[in-house]
């Protein structure tokens, strides 16, 4: 455990020393993965559905601020849908505008969650999102979860309807909306994610040892159980193995994230009581773990050099003694 903490300190120091480069690299990777996922979800425009377009747009995404990058992703998806139906593209654009004006404008940080969810759901890593949100946010996190899940299933519905229908008129829009509103899988995923986020929040708020770690485990278990129950109870197709493996991988990823975010030493908990003019306080203080990286100083001993140095020192001593004798 101490060795893990030393590696953690080293990684943090490495990140602090090279922060601008690491930020740029991470933003590039996130951008590339985002455009790659969008190309695979709604990749209708043949000119945009190439790896070099994803690469170029990811490079552009490094320079743009976060909100502009989200706008670029939205425009990218609308341009893809424009290739199959201009009316659908208009509708999707209007829905993005409604989402922005009524919600994202007031809480811009939630926009990142709304954008991340469809991409992570496509990559089968969406199970990590409600656990992360439960660890870091309040139960209001169900709102961006609902919006993100809605956006993902809207794009999925468009893909499935367009692949089975050649219509481009209003009836295509009506069909998409009807299938979207009747999509059982979307409601199941939203319900499970919302439940997991609230459960993780409730468990991590408890004043017990390892509350964060237990909340991650509880959230993962709840997610697996609810998805398996839903798979049995409703007419949806969710791969059982994919759900279990995806949840376990997400749990591991979130545990690593939590380890780097907050490492607490529960062995040195202090319980304090004090009062001021207004209140009497019961305080539980859990110290954060901070491990100093051991300073290594390596002294190399070479047997030959050691012998030469010793012989030289001996010879000098002998010369000094001879000089003393001769002066006497």
């Amino acid at each position: 455990m101490t060795q893990l903490l030393v590696y953690r300190e080293r990684l943090i120091k490495f990140y602090q020393n090279h922060a601008p480069v690491i930020h740029a690299l991470l933003r590039f990777l996130l951008g590339f993965v985002s455009f790659y996922a969008l190309n695979h979800i709604v990749g209708y425009q043949p000119e945009l559905n190439h790896w070099y377009v994803e690469f170029l747009l990811a490079v552009v995404g490094v320079i743009l601020p976060g909100s502009a990058f989200i706008f670029l992703l939205a425009v990218f998806s609308v341009v893809h849908i424009l290739y199959v139906s201009s009316l659908l593209a208009f509708v999707v654009g209007m829905l993005y505008a409604i989402l922005y004006c009524s919600y994202i404008k007031f809480v811009p940080r939630h926009g990142y969650v709304i954008v991340a969810l469809p991409i992570l759901l496509y990559l089968h890593l969406g199970y990590a999102v409600p656990i992360c949100l439960g660890l870091t946010m309040t139960p209001l996190a169900v709102i961006p979860i609902a919006c993100g899940v809605g956006v993902y299933y809207l794009l999925q519905t468009i893909t499935s309807v367009v692949s089975t229908s050649n219509d481009t008129s209003i009836s295509l829009y009506q069909l998409v909306l009807q299938r979207f509103l009747k999509n059982e899988e979307m409601y199941v995923v939203f319900f499970v994610f919302a439940t997991v986020a609230i459960l993780v929040y409730l468990v991590r708020k408890r004043e017990s040892d390892y509350a964060f770690e237990w909340s991650i485990i509880a959230g993962t278990a709840c997610s697996i159980v609810l998805f398996l129950v839903a798979n049995y109870a409703f007419t949806i197709r969710i791969g059982v193995i994919a759900v279990i493996l995806g949840n376990l991988a997400s749990m591991l990823a979130v545990q690593v994230y939590q380890f780097f975010r907050l490492a607490l030493n529960y062995a040195s908990v202090e319980n304090l009581q004090f009062e001021d003019e207004e209140y009497y306080y019961y305080v539980r203080a859990v110290p954060k773990i901070s491990v100093a990286e051991p300073d290594k100083s390596v002294k190399k001993f070479s047997v030959r050099r050691f012998a030469e140095n010793s012989a030289r020192a001996e010879r000098r001593k002998q010369e000094d003694r001879n000089q003393e004798i001769s002066t006497d």
């Binding site: 009316l87 209007m94 829905l95 505008a97 409604i98 009524s102 007031f106 209003i170």
Partner: protein, 141 residues
Amino acid sequence: MVNEEKVRVMTGIALTETKYGREEVKEGGYFRSDYIRFRMTSAMWDITVSYFFLLLLIGIYHADYLFKNAASLPYGLIGAIILVTYILFMIIAGMGSYVYYAREYIRKRRILEEYCRQLDALSGFYHKNEEETGDDATVGV
């Protein structure tokens, strides 16, 4: 010689300006009523635009029915429903934005107060320097 304490204060000011300079420091200086009124107006305008877009989408969805029965539609009833739901939206948006921006104002005010405390501390260093050197044109640490 470099005054370490002064450098600490200046670094704190620079960090505050970098992190909070765009919004919090600028907007924390408004009066509470002005800030909340301005933000509520902006929020209600955004909700109005969203409501209009939503009506447009609903209108497109029912376009076939609307065009076929354009002559016999109960426009009064439709207008009343639109108006009542709009007023309900506005009431909810108004109440929600009032609560949200009242809390935001307190948060921004606290950041501005901390920023002003740091500026006062820095100003103290300059006054002290003036008293010691008798020169108010000295620039430096």
